[in-house]
């Protein structure tokens, strides 16, 4: 079939504009009558706002307006919503504190927006924002989730006097307690999953354009899901009716979850555009991004796992406190519940599981889904537990894992998920072979001769992608459906435009989506284009997150292509006087199989639009639409093996080898899939070794720039070894599972297990900085005899 079809590492078609500086990102947009917004932000973690005086700012030349929360509320702009309703174990609904895009009377984190200045220039707006005088009465603050739930902690929202958003459970507590009580061995672990800042390299940005004559708004914005942004801005924030609001997410410079949400700044820019009659642009700087982009992770967990005498898991009990920050962000409540605790079974047979998750308000930036979203937290817990258990029981850790691997599918876990396919032993075999585990003892001995400690760490992760079906997620509290839409337009000349509700912000959809079309209709890829990211062009879509663009987005395209194929065959059968079943599409032609009767693909297109000779009753045109709602999640899984060398004198860890053996089902473009794994692994290494958002006790953000928050650099990571295993996902037409988050999910426990293997302790927390590793090494050493 097509030389650019499924399974080919086609070079990216979108690259040319990026490598020549012709990409068009939101901050590159400039309107004729553009003004600039700068936000006045709280320097306090928690305070009452007692007064705002914008007079000095307004007096500055070029300042157009100073706008505040009470005016915003007065204009009927609604509070920011959260999209997933969680019910506590006592049956009460979660406690959602009011969140206005501009604070009305209280600020709850450093960076909470209080007012906005609109001015003729960017610098003018910033300078004037410094002149807005805000009076605060400071209140006590709390930054850690566990401390926020302690009696007497400062209270953030009246609706949640104990700062508890929900106290949720999953699984069977009595059965799990019984299993632990009768276990031959119980392994206990306490872990923190460090708070991270997503840090796409393009800061968030918005350009809002109000057309007074049409009462119409256009918003250019850095979004992973422009249609959802339009829906929420319209239905909940009352900025404009949906048909009077166009949202465009042009080239977007990375997202990793942080650009799913509809933030205060976009709402305020739209509203300010209407108030001032000007186009209003705002672009975050990096410091603002650290203060306002939704953070990720931030769990504190205590867990117990029971084993029988042969090392079979009998029960797993987990207590987690999730810090959700000052307000409930859009999908914040789903992340530590249905995206976390439903994966606690890992790759293993576990007869009983019980998870309790308490979510806390704190005086920090709201926390929401960041690459992996809940699944990295589950994987880190399960895989550190398996390694710790093997060490405690004196077993080989790969043997312990194999003994517990799920072998037959479908497999119903005790925590909702039904795994549809997998080959966990095969993934481990491939990973071990590629990592040359057999040669490890020799490498360790060689490293020891140089004074270095070498360690090997494993992580056998499973995750759930393509969250679905809509009916099921609706029953669990989701406020949206999680299908995807596609439209396939065959033009009269035979070229094809694919309109998709998925959004590409680095994933390469303009290439991979075209590959499945080239494959299906056996056409040159040059004749296919992909349209996305504009609510005026694409009917509706749910966007890109949760590794859903392949399994869900491409499936919708396949469904629409099936309809086009059926119509093409009907037209060809009619014109060639043959049976539809005998028509084949290949090599740019539509043929009667086994004969020389054929029409060019372009002739079918033309025939559909001239409509001179179509079957009786057939509508003209050749354009089909499909909405695809998956029957189940997909379950990518794999084995990651990390090899490290630790310098015991300095605590510095070097990752000397990293092997990823993933089962993503069908792969459309191996080059792009491997790129996704590379990036995810680097983010996982970042979490394990380098990254952490730090607040002090009073809620001051200490990591507000790249001087303080350590991003992975090129010399922190190695070349990665990537292997693929393949079990086809039975749930979607292409058999795809999703690859976007695996690296970030599977990597952290592999790195930490490798370091703890090297230095001989189970006690080490992320990020494993040289100081922490050095301290852990000192603890393992026998105390020196008293001098």
């Amino acid at each position: 079939m097509s030389e650019n079809g499924i399974g080919k590492s086609v070079k990216r078609r979108e690259d040319k504009r990026f490598i020549t500086g012709k990409g068009k990102y939101t901050d590159d947009v400039r309107m004729e009558n553009q003004a600039y917004a700068a936000f006045v932000r709280s320097p306090h973690a928690h305070a009452k706002v007692t007064g705002i005086d914008g007079a000095a700012a307004l007096a500055e030349e070029g300042v157009i307006a100073v706008l505040t929360g009470p005016e915003l509320v007065g204009d009927g702009i609604g509070n920011i919503i959260t999209g997933w309703a969680i019910t506590s174990k006592d049956g009460t609904p979660m406690k959602v504190g009011a969140w206005s895009a501009l604070a009305t009377d209280t600020v709850r984190y450093v960076g909470d927006a209080v007012a906005v200045v609109i001015a003729e220039t960017r610098q003018g707006a910033r300078n004037a924002a410094e002149l807005v005088e805000v009076s605060y009465d400071e209140l006590p603050a709390v930054a850690r989730g566990d401390r926020a739930l302690q009696p007497g902690a400062p209270m953030l929202h009246d609706c949640a006097p104990d700062n508890m958003i929900f106290d949720w459970e999953i699984g069977d507590e009595a059965a799990t307690d019984a299993a632990l009580a009768s276990a031959a061995t119980v392994v206990e672990l306490e872990l923190e999953n460090n708070r991270l800042a997503p840090n796409p390299m393009e800061p968030r940005s918005a350009v809002a354009i109000y057309d007074e004559a049409e009462e119409h708004y256009t918003l250019y914005t850095t979004s992973q899901n422009p249609h959802v942004a339009r829906l929420v801005l319209s239905a909940f924030y009352q900025v404009a009716p949906e048909h009077k609001l166009r949202v465009i997410a042009p080239d977007v410079g990375g997202g990793f979850g942080s650009k799913i949400y509809i933030y205060p700044e976009e709402i305020v820019c739209l509203w300010a555009s209407m108030k001032t009659g000007r186009s209003v642009k705002w672009t975050s700087d990096r410091n603002e991004a650290f203060m306002t982009d939704a953070h990720g992770r931030d769990h504190v967990t205590k867990a117990k796992m029971g084993f029988d005498a042969e090392g079979h898991i009998t029960g797993f009990k987990v207590d987690t406190i999730a810090n959700l920050g000052a307000y409930c962000s859009l999908f914040a409540t789903a992340t530590p519940t249905y995206l976390y605790a439903t994966l606690l079974s890992g790759q293993y047979n576990m007869p009983a599981i019980y998870g309790n998750v308490k979510a806390a308000y704190t005086n920090t930036v709201p926390v929401d889904a960041y690459r992996g979203a809940g699944r990295p937290e589950a994987t880190y817990l399960v895989e550190r537990m398996m390694t710790t258990a093997a060490r405690q029981m004196g077993m080989d850790e790969t043997e312990l894992r194999r003994r517990n691997f799920i072998q037959s599918f479908p497999h119903q876990t005790p925590v909702i998920m039904c795994y549809d396919a997998g080959d966990f032993g095969g993934n481990l075999d491939k990973g071990m072979a590629a990592a040359d585990v057999a040669g490890f003892p020799a490498r360790k001995a060689e490293a020891a001769s140089r004074g270095k400690l070498r360690g090997l760490g494993y992580s056998c992760y499973i995750e759930a992608c393509g969250i679905a079906p809509s009916k099921a997620v609706g029953s669990l509290g989701a406020g949206v459906g999680l299908w995807e839409s596609a439209e396939v337009r065959v033009n009269p000349v035979g070229t094809i435009e694919i309109l998709t509700g998925s959004h590409s912000h680095g994933q390469g959809h303009e290439t991979t989506f075209a590959q499945i079309v080239a494959e299906k209709f056996d056409l040159p890829i040059e004749s296919i284009s992909i349209v996305h990211g504009d609510t005026d062009k694409v009917q509706f879509g749910m966007g890109t997150y949760g590794s859903r663009s392949g399994a869900v987005g491409m499936s919708a395209i396949v469904k629409a292509m099936d309809k086009v194929e059926a119509k093409v065959k009907k037209i060809a059968a009619h014109q060639l006087e043959a049976a539809e079943d005998d028509i084949v599409i290949e090599g740019g032609q539509v043929k009667v199989a086994g004969t020389d009767k054929a029409l060019g693909w372009h002739e079918i297109g033309l025939a559909a639009y001239t409509a001179h000779n179509l079957p009786d009753g057939m509508e003209p045109g050749l354009k089909e639409t499909a909405f695809y709602d998956p029957a189940n999640f997909t379950f990518p899984a794999g084995t990651y093996i990390c090899e490290v060398e630790v310098d015991p004198e300095t605590g510095v860890t070097e990752i000397v080898q990293f092997t990823a053996a993933d089962d993503f089902g069908t792969i459309i473009n191996p080059m792009i899939v491997e790129g996704q794994v590379h990036g995810g692994v680097a983010q996982g290494i970042g979490q394990a070794l380098l990254e952490q958002v730090v607040y002090d006790e009073d809620g001051q953000l200490l990591t507000g720039s790249y001087m303080d928050y350590c991003m992975p650099r090129a010399d922190d990571v190695p070349f990665y070894t990537i292997e693929h295993n393949k079990t086809v996902c039975p749930g979607n037409p292409l058999g795809m599972k999703g690859c976007g988050e695996a690296g970030a999910i599977g990597t952290p426990p592999a790195v930490i297990n490798a370091i703890t293997d090297a230095i001989g302790t189970n006690e080490l927390s992320m990020p494993a900085t040289p100081l922490k590793v050095w301290q852990a090494i000192q603890k393992t050493r026998a105390p020196m005899a008293a001098e």
Binding site: F18, P200, A714, F719
Partner: protein
């Protein structure tokens, strides 16, 4: 205000701009050359790298006035019509995903290859990784960026 005179991508330009205007603002806002990006406020990320008088500089920490009289090459001016070997290598090796850091990566890559060649030093994988200290990418895990620079180093 200050008068800034520059040769940018081979064209002479002259503008009166505020004294505090950064070179990156001059390029993006005055000349509308938006291929040069701003990814941080602290000169760490390298999305803003351009060549000033033949050397890689971070245009977010260079005043336009400081550069006056100089010659600037941006990503838009790296090659005329065709692709520079470094640009081609990034496409060949999937050295970019979202594309935001890419102009800075390419400009840094061209600079490092030229410096090592001029000094007669071998640009090893280790050297490339250390040279990229001032360029952050969040998408690629650097694997294919290093491969891209290795390929281009062999072709430049």
């Amino acid at each position: 205000m200050t008068e800034v005179t520059l040769t940018v991508n081979g064209k002479a330009v002259k503008r009166d701009v505020p004294d505090t205007m950064l070179l990156v603002e001059f390029l993006r806002e005055e000349l509308r050359l938006t291929g040069t990006h701003v990814g941080c406020d602290t000169s760490q990320c390298g999305a803003c790298v351009v060549h000033l008088d033949g050397k890689a500089v971070k245009s977010c920490t260079t005043l336009a006035a400081q550069a006056s009289g100089g010659t600037v090459t941006t990503i838009e001016g790296l090659a005329n019509g065709s692709l520079h070997p470094m640009q081609k290598a990034f496409n060949d090796n999937h050295g970019l995903q979202c594309g935001f850091c890419t102009p800075g990566m390419i400009m840094s890559g061209v600079d490092m290859v030229a410096r090592y060649k001029a000094a007669g030093k071998e640009l090893t994988e280790h050297a490339i990784r250390e040279e990229l200290e001032g360029n952050i990418c969040r998408c690629t895990g650097y694997h294919n960026i290093v491969k891209s620079i290795q390929q281009a180093a062999g072709e430049m």
